[in-house]
Structure formats: structure tokens, C-alpha cells
Symmetry: C2
Subunit: 309 residues, 2 copies
Amino acid sequence: MSKLLIAGTVAYDSIETPFEKVDYTLGGAAVYIALAASHYPIDAAIVSVIGSDFEQKHLDLLEAKGIDLEGVETIADQKTFFWSGLYKNDMNSRETLTTELHALAHFNPVVPEAYKNPKIVLLGNLDPSVQMRVLDQLNHKPELVILDTMNYWMNHTPNELDAIIAKTDLLTINDEEARMLSGEYSLVKAAKNILKRGPKYLVIKKGEHGALLFHENEVFFAPALPLEEVYDPTGAGDTFAGGLAGYLSQIKNINFEHIKNAVVHGSNLASFCVERMGVSRMINLEREELVQRLRYFKKLTQFDIHLES
Amino acid sequence: MSKLLIAGTVAYDSIETPFEKVDYTLGGAAVYIALAASHYPIDAAIVSVIGSDFEQKHLDLLEAKGIDLEGVETIADQKTFFWSGLYKNDMNSRETLTTELHALAHFNPVVPEAYKNPKIVLLGNLDPSVQMRVLDQLNHKPELVILDTMNYWMNHTPNELDAIIAKTDLLTINDEEARMLSGEYSLVKAAKNILKRGPKYLVIKKGEHGALLFHENEVFFAPALPLEEVYDPTGAGDTFAGGLAGYLSQIKNINFEHIKNAVVHGSNLASFCVERMGVSRMINLEREELVQRLRYFKKLTQFDIHLES
């Protein structure tokens, strides 16, 4: 089967929303990405780092989903990366309460031999120089390098970020980050600017407003599912990227049409992710639920344009 | 041909954007609505009021578009309703500088005999009691009563607004107004609440993020056109409603599928409206441009969902 290499954090998270509070729950970009990608018939591996406190049951859980963990290093005298955050009433503003790097500060990514020729590599949000060290270990350029990043790296390591963006085929960022990265308010102008820096494809994530995919002079608008309640937005962006990468990993000769479909698959998975706290919804998600909601996404946006005259 | 009755303001506007400033330019909800609707093969009439300062060339312009002005009353010793507004850099925040009612304060709507049995009536943003006086003059319930309103009436005349909403088939409001009207933050919950008050259909306008159409348990998500630059947002919501109503006026036995298409037609017209100051783009808009952009809207949202396994 086609191989997807995922680099990113494995973490414990404490999350508080208006509905519920959970402590030290399994999280991290690579975990959300891999769980989303595991819904597709592909081989996926994580390159990451954990501390000695990381529980065996969580390793077992990921391995039971078919995720290769050979590239996950355990650092003996460190704890696992910890993040805690608080969501306010409208769920659109997130406050990060704590970021404790622990083992992540010592992350020296080592790509397993079996994953040095992946079809796709997805570099989850990480220090851009760490992302680059992952790419540098590959034997050939993958068919698609997908990059996720965030505003922190735009402010703190802009040169390293530029270098990794130049090697990226598909970049996913949110609307505010696209504006920050490009200096353009209009997302159409921002996309034009960013597509000149390396990526052939740009996905701008707009949360509840869906996502825009840009490629050359083409644009595609993918809806978000209108939800009664967002229970916990943590990991939605990673899940989106994981669904997108998982879908594409099984596709031959990836083109714009495939990437449009992949954006919908990513949105579909993200719509499940936010229905429960942390990764809990992703663990029990059945294929039939996925397929049914994909049909709903299709229905949500279908229309005719005939002019009756 | 099918008849569309439009009630709303006819105005002079002064508009300042980061790009340009125009003074005393033709505006008003009924003008934007009628110009949008005039792109469809229907008969349309405006019920409104103007002052003695209203220029003949503007009456001529509207009549040249086939818009019936018998229901537009001129009040001799008054000026035409005047509005001025300022758009800040991001074009998303509008500041109203002046609202001078003048003739509008004396508006006593009189529906022309020829329009007392319209197929559709579109009640543009106005005092809800004035909107009701228009409905009261009709001989039969139209096939569709479309209502546009705004936050001002939710705050100032909630009972009168409730009464007109109860007689509405299709309500168009923006996302903030939907939240205010329902007391629900989630737009899905807001829609459920509002659909219990009378309307069979609810369109929630989200500006650059598109529009959501709700009907019973169905939802449809219409994209906005990703634009490089919004030049002047004035009248975009009215133009949306006018395109929607114009499209539907030519449709037999209107159902949810038709209304989905109508929302796209409305979005299409609104995307042109914002390209120039005031109504200028709407006056010179050619049918071929409309059709071409409709095809673009279709392409913007088309995707497949096949799971390749």
C-alpha cells in the first residue's frame, strides 16, 4: 500500500470548554493526523518524540489503528509534551494556558528506513527546522509534501519557515495566518502571494466557514458542515490535514480534481473530530458514518444554474 | 410575465471607502433589489417614496430597465431619504455617518392596482409596520413573501417585526442578526428557532463567507465568490435578495431545489455589485457576464466523493 509519513507532536492535552474539562488526554498534531489518515487503506507512520510518562495503552491504541510507531522516540528522563487550553463561550477564541515542551525540546527526528520513500509526507505544525530535518532524510522527493504551520513560526523563525515552504507542494494554514504570511488582507491576493513562494496548492482553512483551495488560477470552495454545537475544536485542523493526506495517499497521479475531493474528505473528518472532547470521536468513527456524511457534504453544495428564459 | 412587487427605500447615498468617495449617488434597498431583479424576464414594480429633489434621470434609468414606478410617491416639500457611510480598511466594518429620513418619514405605501396579485413580494429593509401595510393591500397571499430586515428593528420594534416575520415565507438576514433574533450562537440552532416563527425558508447571509439556506431539516451552503478586492459593499445584501427574487419570479411551483439555485443567483449578482461604487456595476451588467460567472460558481463548488478502496 502507499505510504504516508507523518511528522508532528504526540502530546498530552488538558482542554476546557464550556461543556467539559478533560485532563492529560491523548493529543498532539501527529496523533490527530494519523487517526484521521487511518480511515483510508494506506500505510502510515509517525515520526515524533514522547517522554517516559507516555502510557502503553496509548501506544497500543495507535498501533491497533495500523499506525507505525517505529519513528516515535522515547526520551527516558523527560515528560511528554503538554499543552493546555481554554475555549470561551463562542468556541472561536482559544486561550493557550500552558505549553510545556519537555521531550519535544529534545526532538531529533529519525525517519524509519521503511518510510524513506513515502508517497506523501505530511509535516504537521512543528519548528520549521525540525520539519526540514525530516525532509532531508528522505531518499527521493515524495509525490506530495504537505505542510501545516502556524503564526508562531511566522513571527519567530521566518527564514526557516520560508525555506520549508519553498519545498512544500501543499500548504495548509488558516485565514489569519494567510494574511500574516502574505501581508495581504484579501485571501485571493494572499493566495497569489503564497503560491509564488513554492507551494503548488494552498488550502486556507476558515473554521466554520469552510476552506478555500487555490492552485494556479483555480479556486475551490469547500463547505464546513453546519453543526448544532462544536464540542471541542482541538485538533480539527490536524484532522483536516490527516483526512486530506489519507485520501490522497491512495490516489494515483494526484491532480487538482483529486485535491478538491481531498479537501472535502478532510472537512468531513474534521466535522466528526469536533463532536467530542479530544480524540475520542476519531477513535470510534465507523466507515459507514464517514461515507454517509460525505454524501451529506455533496448534497449541501449541489445546485443547478439554469437560466429559465 | 410573472410579477414581482418590491417595497423598500429609494435613496441618495454618500459612500466613502479606502478606494473612493462618492456623494449623493443613487441608492436605497428597492433600487438595488429592482436592478438585480431586472436581469430576469419578469415584471417588477417598486413601492417607495422620494422627495422633490429626486432627479428625473434616475427615474428614467429605472424605467429604462423595465421597472414600474407607479408606486413611487413623490412628496413635494421633502428631500429624498439620505444615507452616508464609511468603510474601513478591511471593508467588513461599516460606520453609518448620517441617516436623514426626510420623505421616508412620511412613507404611506400604496400598491398599484396592477401589482395587487404579485407572484412574489419582496419587502426590503423598512419599518416592519410599513412592510405590513404593503402586505395588507394585496388581494391574495403571494406565492412567496420574502422579507429582509436588520438589527435596528429587532431592538426597536420587536413586536411589529415578529408580526411580519409570521407572515413571511423566506427571511433573509445576516449571521449576527440571526444570532440576535434567536438568542442562539450556533447558526443551526438559530435557524431552528427562527423557522418556528413563520418562515418556511431562512437565508443567513455571511458576506465573504457565503450564505446558508435552511428549510425544515435541510441545509444548503452557497459560496461567495472569492474576490481580489471588494470595492464597495453597499447594497450587496439587497442585490442578493433582488437576484434571488428575480430568479424565483420566473419559476413555476417554487420548491427547495429552486430556492437553492436562487441563492446562487443572488450571490452571483451580489458579487458584481461590490465590484464598483454604488449601483454603477449593476447598471451596465450584461447577461453574458452573469451566465459566465454562474458557471464559475458551479465550478467553484463541484467535487466527487468516491472512496477509492
